[in-house]
């Protein structure tokens, strides 16, 4: 990255002066190095790294299960493994990826690390609660993994009753208990963020000076707090029904199986935004930094975060158009789903407009961000296909849905996660990663992803149902293509794991602000000292105070 250079117009990038390290207190990583100091830490930054290590581990487990699934689908008749093994593989893939990777990923790692830094605070409001939530998370995850060790679960990550309560002979209870426990961790994290953002902002850090990352996490935390108790209730009822045969969901005991679907999606659709909003927050930091330009439509994007978090509670019924729901309900849920798509679209156009007339650097985080925009747009618009009633009747529960939510969740969450990881890696670790390898990984992942998942839109439209261990022979070609793509994708994931770890020992030492980025987290050293700032940070005049200002900062007075 060249630190200066002629960039048209009047703006000029200020050369960066690395701050002196002489006589400084040790940073948070080196302050203490015993295991005890890590496992009993109340420093939000260390807790963030505990989460980072854990969710990376879960991602690997989920990815291996995905590999098993793609391997099985190379042949149509399921010759490679039994249907039972296949079902267990896709179940554990879904359970681990959704509950133990996607939902905690960005909030628990980047959110934990960055929110206090970004608002100029010393820590989160409740540091001990923060550590507790990590232990709760790990306890839940281990519970669920026990079920895998014992022999697996075959209910799918959605745990629909009465399959899960009365008909499955697998280890459903430990899996359910684990997922229930993890919910409490989300609630604690959400609570901590909301209180922190309300009460611990540095003097002068008004709401409309907060980075979009913080807005996005505020909105996410509201979903954590309002929606998680619903899934917790539903899962506890499911556990009770499986253990004691109470008739809540199982018609054999007078229950209603559709009730479970309502409770499940009342949480799980908003959960989609738990996965997506933090990713949008990350992209809203990366794009301005690499365009050196203020985020276009800052206020609109902030409002859109809260708007999305609110409307998302009213569209759960679009998962049940073909499940015996009344036609009127379906019409209403379909219409409301169209209304969610719009604020999502707004963000994409804002990022594009931010790049316009910027001074662009195509470093790894920016490559990931651009990949994100492409995949997210496709994922979002195919969501509209699903929300269209007549189309849903055909592609519901087919591979079209699988492709759609992977574009949203992998495209949206994972690419934002990796982009953010590269962007803040110097801040987290005090080291620079290898830029050329970073670019290779971003390109491989984008390519591998599309080869894997695009064919699945076609498969779904042709009528291949999801969760199929065997399939008619005419679908083989597209399935083989998809599995080949998954191989490229796997390589793409492997690269960052290698060169990022390598950089911990051999990477160049990072300056406080390697990207010339704005935001308080870049005002302190890399890695930051234990209490984040040595002297109180100076809150900027406007958010995203980059050299190239768009016209709109005049329109909207920041």
């Amino acid at each position: 990255m060249s630190a200066s250079g002629s960039i048209g117009g009047t703006a000029r990038r200020e050369p960066h002066t690395p701050e002196s390290t002489i006589g400084r207190k040790p940073d948070y990583l080196h302050a203490e190095s015993t295991l005890r100091s890590w496992f009993l830490t109340t420093d939000h930054k260390r807790i963030a790294l505990l989460y980072l290590a854990s969710i990376t581990g879960f991602f690997v487990i989920g990815a291996v299960a995905a590999g098993v699934v793609r391997l099985a689908l190379i042949v149509p008749n399921g010759a490679i493994m039994t249907n039972d093994t296949y079902n267990k593989a896709f179940t554990i893939h879904g359970v681990v990826m959704v509950w133990f990777f996607l939902i905690p990923s960005i909030p628990a790692t980047f959110g934990n690390f960055l929110i206090p830094l970004m608002i100029g605070a010393k820590d989160l409001a409740f540091p001990k609660l923060n550590l507790t939530s990590w232990y709760v998370f790990m306890a839940g995850a281990l519970f669920t993994l026990v079920s895998v060790v014992l022999g697996g679960v075959d209910t799918g990550w959605t745990f629909y009753a009465p399959l899960s309560t009365a008909f499955s002979n697998t280890w459903v209870l430990p899996a359910l208990i684990g997922v229930t426990i993890v919910g409490f961790s989300s609630i604690l994290t959400g609570l901590n963020f909301v209180v922190t953002i309300h009460t611990m902002r540095a003097p002068g850090m008004t709401w409309f000076k907060l980075p979009i990352f913080v807005w996005a996490h505020y909105a996410t935390s509201l979903i954590f707090l309002l929606a998680t108790p619903v899934i917790t209730t539903a899962l506890i009822l499911l556990i009770a029904e499986r253990a004691f045969h109470i008739g809540v969901f199982d018609p054999a005991y007078g229950g209603d199986p559709v009730l479970f679907q309502h409770l499940f999606w009342f949480y799980s659709h908003p959960a989609v935004y738990i996965m997506v909003l933090p990713g949008m927050g990350v992209i809203s930091e990366i794009v301005p930094a690499f365009a050196q330009k203020k985020l276009f439509g800052y206020r609109f994007v902030a409002y859109a975060s809260i708007g999305l978090a609110s409307v998302t509670f009213f569209v759960w019924g679009h998962h049940m158009f073909v499940n015996g729901q009344s036609d009127l309900a379906s019409l209403v849920f379909s219409a409301l789903s169209f209304a969610v798509a719009v604020p999502s679209a707004v963000k994409v156009y804002n990022w594009t407009a931010t790049i316009h007339k910027g001074a662009l650097r195509l470093d790894t985080p920016m490559l990931y961000a651009m990949g994100y925009i492409g995949l997210f747009v496709l994922g979002g618009l195919t969501g509209l296909y699903l929300a269209t009633l007549a189309i849903n009747q055909h592609i519901h529960a087919t591979y079209f849905v699988v492709a759609h939510f992977h574009y949203i969740m992998v495209g949206g969450t994972v690419l934002a996660f990796l982009g953010g990881l590269h962007f803040w890696w110097p801040k987290f670790t005090g080291r620079m990663y290898s830029e050329p390898w970073g670019r290779v990984s971003a390109l491989l992942i984008f390519l591998g992803f599309n080869v894997t998942f695009f064919p699945q839109f076609i498969l779904g439209y042709l009528g291949m149902p999801r969760r199929y261990a065997t399939y008619p022979a005419e679908f083989q070609l597209l399935n083989v293509l998809s599995s080949a793509g998954a191989t490229i994708l796997a390589a793409g994931y492997l690269f960052p794991m290698l060169y990022l770890v390598y950089s911990l020992w051999f990477g160049r030492k990072a300056p406080a602000n390697p990207w010339n980025a704005k935001g308080l987290e870049w005002e302190t050293s890399s890695p930051p000292p234990t209490h984040n700032f040595l002297s109180p940070p100076e809150v900027p005049r406007i958010p995203y105070d980059y050299p190239i200002q768009a016209q709109e900062s005049r329109d909207q007075h920041g």
């Binding site: 250079g5 703006a11 407009a353 009747q393 969760r467 329109d555």
Partner: protein, 329 residues
């Protein structure tokens, strides 16, 4: 008669007017999608190249009022997509209201098979024969978990719930044989729960009902039960359990463990299925077969035994072809 298995087909067959209109809706939606996304992709690529750091591009403020842009780029896509909401909703409401003269076929889902019963009483398993040119209403329920009946050729599916009836209606106007699936994950053999739907000319359908439906259809149904209840999993050659083959068993002499010999007739088969470890145990293999008492309803037991009667050659291929000549696609 199996569906055509072209190695790479890019458009699913459509057999009803609703299916054709659904395709049109999807095509039009795709055009809109391209309209909304291609400019973004082109713009991002173009900006990324033109505004690279150090390039000589003009970066003076453009003077466009951003509030106006924001509002227009929110409103225009929203209004455009609303057209599709209305279109999709109309089609959906139409597809939810069957005409009163529709022919009602009962469909029952169960781990892991579909049973269909025609208005005239004939029933079949996993396969479904229907006349064209006549509105059909499938009246669907499940006996255990949630399943879903999916007919891609008419672009429709609906859940089979264990506690209430759901409906699916359509009017096919092209003969042919197409896939029929279970599309709601329902446990181990979810992916093999299904078969084929065959649309026939009304005359051929009547023929099928009187001849094939009653005769061959019954054998095919028995074969499907033989597979659905897991008999095939143990008794077919090559299975891990190595249970004796049942092909050609009917009418043969069976030696029992206590030395007696019996004829494998209806009564003996019936007893072996319901009470495999009773006193009339066949000699040879260990008894590992589970009892099916209470699991197989009486009518299905009859169908199953009818199949065993006609089951002569081992591995005689999939379900006997129940389609009479003339009912080709």
């Amino acid at each position: 008669m199996t569906p055509s298995h072209d190695s790479l087909q890019l458009w699913p067959a459509a057999v009803s007017a609703t299916a054709t209109e659904t395709d049109l809706l999807i095509l039009a939606f795709t055009v809109l999608t391209l309209l909304l996304t291609v400019p973004v992709f082109v713009a991002i690529t173009y900006f990324a190249l033109r505004y690279r750091e150090g390039s000589e591009a003009d970066r003076s403020p453009s003077g466009i009022r951003s509030n106006l842009i924001e509002i227009s780029w929110m409103l225009i896509p929203f209004l455009l997509t609303l057209i599709f909401f209305v279109w999709g909703a109309r089609l959906y409401v139409h597809s939810k209201n069957p005409p009163p003269d529709a022919m009602v076929v009962e469909a029952i889902g169960r781990q892991w098979m579909w049973k269909f019963q025609h208005p005239t009483g004939q029933s079949e398993i996993n396969n479904l024969h229907l006349p064209i040119g006549q509105p059909i209403r499938l009246h669907i329920i499940s006996q255990d978990v949630i399943h879903a009946l999916y007919l891609p050729a008419v672009r429709m599916q609906v859940a089979a719930l264990p506690d209430r009836y759901t409906d699916l209606w359509f009017k096919a106007d092209k003969v042919g044989t197409y896939h029929l699936y279970c599309s709601e994950y329902c446990g181990t053999d979810h992916s093999v729960m299904g078969g084929e739907v065959t649309f026939m000319n009304p005359g051929d359908y009547q023929d099928w009902l009187t001849h094939a439906g009653a005769q061959q259809g019954k054998v095919a149904a028995g074969r499907a039960l033989y597979e659905a209840y897991g008999c095939a999993g143990c008794h077919e050659p090559g299975s891990a359990v190595k249970a004796p083959s049942l092909a050609g068993l009917y009418g043969s002499q069976v030696k029992l463990t206590d030395g007696r010999t019996v004829t494998a007739d209806d009564a003996w088969l019936r007893e072996k299925i319901l009470n495999p470890n009773g006193d009339r145990l066949a000699g040879g293999g260990k008894q590992v077969m589970p009892s099916f008492a209470g699991r197989i309803p009486a009518d299905e037991l009859g169908t199953l035994i009818d199949f065993l009667k006609s089951y002569s050659a081992p591995a005689a291929g999939k379900a006997a072809d129940a389609t009479p000549p003339g009912a080709t696609r």
